[in-house]
């Protein structure tokens, strides 16, 4: 195993891999910086670019986008008081006040160090856990694997904070879309709606992902018009020493480690979300600080905590994604789709069949985060100006990428039309609070889930959930998860009342 780790590290340090990673990091940072688009749309748009490429390079590219996008949002948070997405909201509390006090450089130094090293921490935990996870995964048969898929869908469904039903509906829709086309087990074509030839191959992954993640964002951008953020009244903050910020992280090294740990653990538990990890870390930092009164006024600890948790989380998320096929975060759900694009079947057998690739991805998380910090260290002030770009220019350009992405793989114009159909669906879902990630997850794991379900029924009988101990445990975990979710929602309602 150790040999595999070293071999993967040796392979990753090649020029072509590093260039691909640099490209992914740059794209991730740009999508992270532009508010309202986010890394998810970036991954969806560039997923088609990896089709036909070497799986390792392709997945490195996608994971680098995922790793860098959250750091991009942190930069706009500090320099402009504009969070890239919800993940950066906790950084806003102390990051911008620091910048307003003339310590923007120092805050940037903290962000780059804490997030870069946070990614390193999460990646090392991932690599350390892979050998431990492998025997666990090997103990899983079809029934256990099927239950893990159900567990994953449950976790993703509870992302819909507003309504559990909406979350489950979204997950079921993903599964239903996966039923269309040739069924693996029986070899018959299903739901082809009056022998429509296009549907015989099933719904295609890329048009679906572009439709539900990229087109709604482009629509919002086109509706917003002109600039994303009005330039007037916003200044790019200056001042402070970046190196001082780097030193700050080491001055509060134990806080950094604790927050990384919080981030990694939250990342391992699917469906919780990055913003929970960052706010948990922020709360912990405030509780344990000698100067809690400084929080909200530009506290150094208030910036270290969310940034270290945010990036450490990705390593944890990748662990459950690789180990059990359950994405720990939204970006990881799309990564599962990217696996399919390069011909790797995602799911619980990843650690068995693609161990080298899994180790490679662990290193990618680490190097991607460090590279992202390095790029930002050099170019943060220049890159942040993207936010002032005219949305009227960017929207049609992104739309062109969407069209080409949808068309490129099968070279079938129907895929473009389907991308827009799913775009309509994604847009309505986004506006009405139906989570989009479970749709993707259900679709990616749908065929696999069906195969495992049928094999389980045939080998163990229809009550396999109750006759297999691991299945029963997973089932109980599902029930407990749902109960806790309902309880927390009822508490929230009571608080509001």
């Amino acid at each position: 195993m150790l040999e595999a780790f070293v071999r993967a590290l040796g392979n990753i340090a090649q020029l072509d891999v590093m260039l691909v990673m640099l490209l992914g990091v740059t794209i991730g940072l740009i999508f992270g910086i532009v508010p309202g688009i986010g890394g998810m749309a970036g991954i969806a748009i560039f997923m088609s670019f990896i089709w036909g490429q070497d799986p390792i390079l392709g997945l490195t590219f996608i994971l680098a986008i995922a790793a860098a996008s959250s750091q991009g949002g942190s930069v706009t948070t500090i320099l402009l008081n504009v969070p890239g997405d919800t993940t950066n909201a906790a950084t806003l509390l102390d990051g911008y006040p620091m910048a307003a006090k003339g310590q923007a450089g120092r805050a940037m130094g903290i962000v780059l160090t804490a997030s870069g090293l946070g990614g390193l921490f999460g990646g090392l935990v991932l690599l350390g856990m892979l050998p431990v996870m492998r025997p666990v995964v090997l103990a899983f048969g079809s029934p256990e694997t099927f239950m893990m898929v159900v567990l994953g869908l449950t976790f993703m469904a509870i992302i819909a904070r507003e309504s559990l039903i909406k979350g489950f509906v979204a997950g079921c829709l993903g599964l239903i879309l996966a039923f269309i086309g040739l069924q693996n087990v029986t070899g018959i074509v299903r739901y082809d709606f009056f022998n429509w030839l296009y549907l015989e191959d099933g719904i295609q992954l890329i048009p679906l992902s572009l439709g539900i993640f990229a087109i709604p964002e482009v629509i919002e951008m086109m509706v917003g018009g002109e600039t994303f953020i009005q330039k007037a009244g916003i200044t790019i903050r200056k001042g402070g020493d970046v190196l001082e910020g780097v030193k700050d992280v080491f001055r509060h090294f134990f806080l950094f480690i604790r927050c990384c740990f919080i981030g990694t653990v939250v990342g391992i538990i699917p469906g919780i979300g990055a913003h929970t990890a960052t706010f948990m870390a922020y709360g912990h930092a405030k509780q344990t600080s000698k100067h809690p009164e400084e929080f909200g006024q530009g506290s150094v600890e208030g910036v270290i905590a969310p940034e270290s948790a945010s990036n450490a989380k990705e390593g944890g998320s990748l662990l459950t994604t690789l180990g059990f096929g359950i994405p720990g975060s939204s970006a990881m759900a799309l990564l599962l789709g990217a696996f399919l694009v390069v011909g790797v079947q995602p799911g619980p057998k990843m650690l068995v069949e693609y161990l080298d690739l899994s180790i490679w991805l662990g290193w990618t998380i680490i190097i991607g985060n460090l590279l992202s910090s390095f790029v930002l260290l050099l170019l943060a002030r220049q890159m942040v100006r993207i936010i002032f770009l005219d949305a009227r220019i960017l929207a049609p350009v992104i739309l062109v990428f969407v069209v080409i992405g949808a068309y490129a793989i099968n070279q079938n114009f129907m895929d473009v039309i389907m991308a827009f159909v799913f775009g309509g669906f994604g847009f309505a879902a986004k506006r009405l609070g139906y989570p989009r990630v479970p749709v993707m997850l259900g679709f990616v794991l749908g065929k696999l889930a069906e195969t495992y379900f049928l094999v389980s029924i045939k080998t163990t009988g229809p009550f396999f959930v109750f006759t297999k101990p691991i299945c029963l445990i997973i089932f109980i975990v599902i029930l407990i998860t749902l109960a806790f979710d309902q309880r927390s929602k009822m508490r929230e309602k009571r608080k509001l009342a």
Binding site: P35, I165, L175, R392, P396, L399, F420
Partner: protein, 155 residues
Amino acid sequence: MLRLIFPLVLLVFCVIMLVYSRDYSRDALLFPLVVLIPATGMLLSQTGKEAYSVLIKKAPDDRVDTGVVGEGASGKKYLITIGWLAIFVVLMYLFGITIGMPIFVLLYLKLNRMGWPVSIFVTVLVLGFFYGFFIMFMKIYIYKGLLASIFFGQN
């Protein structure tokens, strides 16, 4: 109203899928039923809830997760944007991707009050990237449009 129409459309889709399933063999039918039946039930409940909320309580439309861009935009703006997307698809369908795409980019930029130099520059840049990367480098066969297939027999 969208909050009522959306689950209703999904409900109709699930019912059609259920009806379509009836002739399949046991193995082909079992798992779809395991998913479709609860999904239909949940959608029925959601549609009922929304119908009550929209038609009886007359609650205003929910606007969740709108993000930063476009927040507060009117319904008319959304309709115009959806119209633009429809024009884009129709242009590509009729004239093919290589011609439809630059026409759309140029039209969109110009009609959104961008100057000619910027509009032409961006259009040429997009076309250049498209041609260079996808046609020259990736050697992708590009859809030439309905008109080309009618008049020149190409597809």
